[in-house]
Symmetry: D2
Subunit: 416 residues, 4 copies
């Protein structure tokens, strides 16, 4: 048990952390101010299953300012910032999250967010929506938001099977989110996590990036930018060709496994690094996952392969020693390395995706009852509005079309 | 008049050039072989208005091999390779094109491709389709392909206004074409054109790229890769932010005009560099256009501003001397610098877009009569087939999904 | 006071940390094995003033293996890893260092390394050699090594004035050290320190790097590689031109101050960021120093400018609030950001510079008495030997000259 | 024979070309103006063996303005610009050079520059100095300049053997020349030559760069900047490690030969690409040399390997067809690809190296008789003067040291 003093300290630490994040999130802060004024969410009950971090706290604050009643659980048992969780109480938000809980507690927390039946649910990976469909089908949710590619894949499958019961906005699928959050956020924070965990010099290392989606592209760019030689693996021919044309070496994982020094999985799929690959690796390789779930590196195969394991040789580094003496270093137990070993996406990046999510909640508040179940894109004008607010906050001026240019674009009679 | 010997020499030069291109176009060559076997275009009449280059000749050969009867005119009065035009006769293709013709002859050539009423038209910029709609509306064309972003913008506008009379496939809009042709092809060939025209050292120069679409991104990457400091101008907030996040300085043209050494327009719009910008520029700046039409740099404003012009100080370079002695260098008269001062897209790039176009013609041959007028995307399986053929030709192996991975992606019940 | 148990824990933590470093330092480990065999340092007394880190511990181990008797003090009052200091006792090394001591204690510790008069001194910044010349001139030191550019500048000045009393090897001046340690080590660890301290997204930020020596080049490359727009300031015309030709914007600090988001000083000089610059900066800028001494950012001017200071808004971040509300964020109190906020150079980099230093000590043991006072380069064959050992450890094979090629290079009669 | 009209046209074409170059060479133009005023070369006879290009013409003009009497021959039988050679007569310069002459004529031309015994010789590769030492040892030359790394290697060897008879300034060895000319000039113009010769898309290609000196580094950077995957081969361990730390794959040529698409030699040595390597290469590879002499690719081995050769499949491209049908494309007959297939270094680059050479000639005019035979570096103040003039011409402002900073750098007593 925590003393009152310890709790006070924890809350104050959380508030400082949230304050720091807020100053890096000018767009969401502007939206919060507008929400406080217009109260578009008055009376709306929101259940959220998100990483409990300072940036999420700023989003919760914006929704609360708009009038929503909120229950929040963690979307990952390791990523909770306990001080932030403690501080969120001050916003009147019910938080069910603690770092390092076991899986049973983790799922109980998610269930508890449904104690008051929600109108809108915010999910990050699909656990909350999954529970709603498999265990709490009595609840009549009006609409939801899902923030990960992984979650969207599942939701589209559910919709195709007729199993989805309410409309869900794919907040991951905006141009803003894809470009800025997936590419730049995951790119930097993944490398940041690897450096904090290992302090390894990346210049001159061979980094294998599995998956060349937006996240994978970001990871590859940052690894290259730190001086690494980058190898990409893919299963999609168009993405594979794109990687090759960007100057990356493209190999099947079977061959990449033999030459890589650092492996980063970011595919949204399971078993990307398997036993056969692990068995072929060099002494001292570093294994990191930047995909949402901890299934991309086959940790059970790694355990089976190892003679012994030195857990925690450094924080977030476990050293698997093979029979022949080779050591494979697994970071963050195969969980999201950028959230576990670093601090996740920088607040400035989350500013954009959470701003889209806040505006999507307001849109759902008005539109959800008119929408059949299905997966919906974020309306284009929400995306453009976020970009406009961000440009204004960054102090970047761009050009406007002249009247003649507008005419030119709209007239097919202009000729050559 | 040309002597028989001169004509023979010209044809042989064209054949060597086409042979060289064909060896760089393995995908289209494979499709041509299949077409020769399956004859999917037997009896089809095709009118094409394309840059008359060696790569186009390989496309014409593939369609001819598939059984099509073809008439070809140039889509740009400066880009015709006369030896290629001469050699194309040997394929049984009626060619109406000669480098450097005046605009009257240029348009007469396009009209002549319609002497035999075509089933399918291939356009590159929209002049042929424009003529069909404004001057030859008696012709009952079944379908078409359009290869440029500029042309697509017009066609969508026409479709929106109900003016479009037949289905057109936007062959510019495949992932393959966008990524590889627009980005890598235009990127390299534009810088190649600038170097050939000026022999200027790009390292240390400030290059202003107007437009950050796929082409603009490619030009910016190559300019950066050659050591330039790159400034981007945009009118779209999301693209502007993306450019900033990629490390480029983003400025309005009004401010970029004062600091740039080299300006490249690639927007698809007119008057991007205007009199007010030209008047603010430094001595010795280089002006180049990589957009489809020669309207992006306001050449008339440049003429009005100049005291005198030294035409052809180097091939493809005109020097405009202002009253105060500053010299502005206009490349290729403001026309496409990569086609005029260099050789256009490398054959390896055109291999991909022309392969998509060849497969689209075969698809239209079967489907056109079932399609209402409108702009159509290239069917996704055509795009993927091109990528697969290209990977095979390049010798790059990628991974395949395991059965477990397929299951995982398709099952939303898998949980975390 | 620490309990026995706490001390044991501290020592074990230090040993784990040293073990981790040793596995990343194969070259120095190979040299240690050779030293243990050949005992080239038997009876030699060494006083060292170095950052007390795990990598330094591996160097101390190698010298000890060679037979040296060692006394070690810290070269920076903030950089000491207390667990490493505790563990070093196990090697029989007298360590005088503790993190966070005041300056009086810091200097007393350095003095204590001289209690047993040393033969050879190892310095990192010049404090030890300075004390030997100004306060302990009775000691007859035979030779020394200096590891920083800053220190070497002073030593050359002393030598020019006839004030230097023994030969010193400039271990900073090898090609190995300059390229790998200064450029790649400082480059990565400086950005690492900034990310750990702030979690700021660097993509899209404007990073101003003051100084374009080997360290500055490394910082600029890594910032660019993380997606930043990089501006360089210099005082040397050749370096300034080189930066421009590499595509960086080059500005005087007076103008860079107005546009930068992040400032990194790495010049070896004082007052590079002065009051006049600080007064012109934007709200929220980040100030970091990567030069050896904490004099590059004028912290006193910053204090004078600020209305209030929020110390420790995050670890290693102090927020200076100006009268008009602007907040300037000073990292690590203006001390070396890579050592204070991150973990300094990766072990793999230190492997090379410390290997050169170990071989230089052995060389000095044999040669020092024959050398007049002065600053000496590391002998070229030591540098090449380190590179050869490193290549072998990395598994990179390179070509060897054929006999014909050797002849060609050595014969000026070969003609064209 | 040329008619008077043809000659007039040729001269005018040369003058336009020289005028274009001069406008890109503001530093040398400024020096020429000073020379015309001060006449530091009055009465000096200069024999030069240089590439006869427009930029060389501007250098000749500067020396002539300073009062020198000049005889000029080509340093490469393929690189002469005939129009420039014709135009140089107007400066009163005796030129012995014509594009495409045979080797006998080439050497006769060099001999003719010695008809009037020179005081100073300017060499570019060593042929002129070689003739002076082996065939014209009766001539009492006072001093010389040599512009290539290759030439300097020979001269140092001659000096070491006591064979060198006069002082020679290594104008290749200035920081200005190395960084800017070798790295940026050779880098860009080599890739430019490859693109002009082949029009190949470099994105996605594997480019093998043999040699990682300043030129090789430049070629590697530009190839990477154009989207290629770059492999480096080296014989020097420190350079090999540096390449690896910059993110390049480093391989022996034996293994690189199997995977490369484009090979560029830039080592200064012979037989870098040998029969064993050629035999292992893929169909369609491109072979280019950017080293001074045409000995780096073993063309005789290529001829021996080929069943047939298609000379000139494109300008500057010969296609060697092996027995199994593979085709290897040799550019520019293995001679300098940047001079033969493109236009050599951009004028802006040559501005810096030729400015150093012009100032070195003036320095030699005063100092040569006091200098013993040997190879001399360009005096440091000449190098800094060139950089200062160049910065002024580029409009880049840098910082100056404050008085306090000067003091700090010069005082070792400052302490920490």
């Amino acid at each position: 048990m925590m003393t009152a003093r310890e709790l006070t300290d924890l809350i104050e630490a959380g508030e400082r952390r949230i304050g720091w994040a807020r100053r890096s999130m000018p767009v969401l802060t502007a939206i919060a101010a507008r929400f406080a004024d217009e109260r578009p969410l008055d009376g709306l009950r929101v259940a959220a299953c998100l990483h409990v971090t300072a940036e999420t706290a700023v989003l919760m604050g914006a929704l609360r300012a708009g009038g929503a009643e909120i229950a929040l659980a963690a979307s990952n048992p390791l990523s909770t910032q306990d001080d932030v969780a403690a501080a969120l109480g001050g916003y009147g938000i019910a938080v069910r999250a603690r770092a390092g809980v076991d899986m049973e507690t983790y799922y109980r927390h998610i269930h508890q967010t449904l104690d008051v039946p929600p109108d809108i649910v915010l999910d990050d990976g699909g656990d909350l929506v999954n529970i709603l469909h498999t265990q709490r089908s009595e609840l009549a949710v009006r609409g939801g938001c899902e923030a990960t590619t992984t979650g969207i894949i599942r939701l589209r499958q559910m919709a195709a099977e007729g199993a989805l019961r309410f409309p869900v906005v794919a907040v991951n699928d905006t141009r803003t989110k894809r470009m800025f959050d997936n590419r730049y956020g995951t790119g930097q924070s993944t490398l940041d996590g690897i450096m904090r965990a290992t302090n390894a010099l990346l210049a001159g290392r061979t980094v294998v990036v599995a998956g060349f989606g937006f996240c994978g592209r970001g990871v590859a760019e940052r690894a290259k930018g730190l001086g690494a030689r980058v190898i990409v693996t893919e299963i999609d021919p168009v993405k594979g060709l794109d990687a090759a044309l960007q100057g990356y070496e493209v190999l099947p994982m079977g061959r990449a496994a033999e030459v890589g020094d650092v492996f980063v999985t970011v595919t949204g799929n399971r078993d990307v690094v398997r036993g056969e690959h692990l068995a072929a690796m060099k002494d001292g390789v570093i294994l990191a996952n930047a995909g949402h779930f901890d299934v991309e590196i086959d940790v059970r195969a790694l355990e089976a392969l190892a003679d012994s394991v030195n857990y925690g040789v450094r924080p977030n580094v476990d050293e698997y020693v093979l029979a022949d003496g080779r050591r494979l270093l697994l970071l963050a137990e195969g969980r999201l390395v950028n959230l576990t070993a670093a601090e996740g996406h920088p607040a400035a990046v989350m500013d954009m995706s959470f701003s889209a999510e806040a505006l999507a909640v307001a849109w759902l508040a008005g539109e959800a009852d008119r929408l059949p179940p299905g997966v919906y894109d974020v309306p284009a004008d929400i995306d453009a509005e976020v970009a406009r607010l961000k440009l204004a906050a960054t102090g970047i001026a761009i050009d406007a079309l002249t009247a003649e240019q507008e005419d030119y674009l709209h007239s097919w009679r202009a000729g050559s």
